[in-house]
């Protein structure tokens, strides 16, 4: 098995599969006798990636493996291949998905608690059908609600190789700052006489460890 054949076969497979290919699936292309070492496959992938430098496509690694994709800067032109713009998903869907991605495993009820609204069945159905999320188990509480987590397809769709690549969740301000500001605000905003001592006491006791 010469190395050009190995390389061409890996390249062809990546273009033909229609989905990202993992190292295991790349190795499975070969019969036992001709199978290259992992290291050799890695070298081929590196070579293919380098060859793309000046081309319209690139080789990237996403959640479920490697795929060739069009360079993102060319996308605006490609949109002309199909009339119109790709439909957008609703904000509600993204909020639901974000909660599942950052807080997985999470139940539907827990999502609703944070969002303050009912999560529509349509949204859950869409996310499940797109295979961005899946049920990963059940919470051991009454009703045994399903717990949801994200999938490899989720990573693939958002061009991520792992969940770590998601931007970190923004920090909330430290609680003691909250209560200081609150105490001030309270005294001013409410136009009834509230003695400062009372307000201060409140604040102190409400935030353990401060003062």
């Amino acid at each position: 098995m010469n190395s050009e054949h190995t390389k061409n076969l890996i390249e062809a497979a990546l273009f033909a599969a229609g989905e990202p290919l993992s190292m295991e699936r790349l190795l499975a292309l070969f019969s036992d006798e001709e199978r290259p070492a992992r290291e050799a496959v890695r070298d081929v992938l590196a070579a293919l990636r380098d060859e793309c430098a000046t081309r319209g496509i690139e080789l990237v690694e996403v959640g479920s493996g490697f795929r060739f994709q069009v360079k993102q800067e060319l996308s605006p032109w490609l949109a002309r291949l199909w009339e119109g713009r790709a439909p957008r998903y609703s904000r509600a869907l993204f909020e639901t998905l974000a909660l599942i991605a950052y807080r997985q495993p999470i139940t539907r009820g827990e999502i609703e608690e944070v969002r303050g609204v009912t999560v529509s069945s349509t949204i859950m159905k869409t996310l499940l059908e797109r295979e961005w999320i899946r049920s990963v188990g059940h919470r051991d509480v009454p009703g045994r609600p399903a717990l949801y987590g994200t999938t490899r397809q989720f990573l693939d769709h958002f061009n991520l190789s792992s969940l770590d690549q998601l931007p970190p969740l923004p920090e909330t301000s430290a609680l003691d700052t909250v209560f200081h500001a609150e105490a001030e605000a309270m005294a001013h905003a409410i136009e009834i006489p509230v003695s400062h001592e009372v307000a201060d006491t409140d604040v102190a006791s409400a935030s353990p460890g401060t003062k």
Partner: protein, 278 residues
Amino acid sequence: MMHTETISIEPVDQLERVPLAMVEGAPVTRMPLDLYIPPDALEVFLDTFEGPLDLLLYLIKRQNLDILNIPIARITQQYIEYVDLMQGLRLELAAEYLLMAAMLAEIKSRMLLPRPPMAAEEEDPRAELVRRLQEYERYKQVAEQLDARPQLGRDVFHALATVNLAERSRPQPTVSLEELLHAFHDVMQRTVMYTHHHIRREPLSVRERMSHVLSLVSADTFVEFSALFPLSEGRSGVVVTFLALLELIRESLIELAQSETWGPIYVRAASANSGDTK
């Protein structure tokens, strides 16, 4: 302000008579100007809120208020005005919005009550709300970031090449007709529920014939009209083909040409370069 068909006269009257809200003890019967939204737009506008927390965040941001420092009285007022407005427009009001209004009112009432010094350990009634708002805001932010990420099919396109497996050695999933039917049923139901897309009903054979006719004609050469009619199919075949042609013309997919009266009619696929499309 309301002259759309969806809103009858009486709610307007009601709105005029019944104070919208009490602000600093004075009844407000007119919508504050900065709250004015054309009724047509309101429905769309409210659709942009993802729930009561989202609406509250919006109010806080619009007034440039510190989320940690909510003047509960003002924000409650604003919030309730919005909720009133929704009711005035007879929009179906989600229970969550009313629940939030109740929660705000409760917080307000608790803050107005003088507290006995003994109740020192009682938490600031806003604390829970602030916590929820902050928590919601974090996920709202990452949801926006997620939407902004490069997405497959929108910003990123998979590079594909065709593979011809001569021996068809690739196992092919089997698909049953029922599966196909269900898929169509589902997608059509969604269409009816969520969009105003028009579904046309034609005998399927007309649709099939449309595809067939299109594959017979090209933009470069004219095909004689009569040649498109397979005589072997008899009268009904002619009618189906004729209906297909009419539909194709209506969709501007083909063009007809005739050089002289009673002369032969020619058909070709509509092309981008031909000046006389339509």
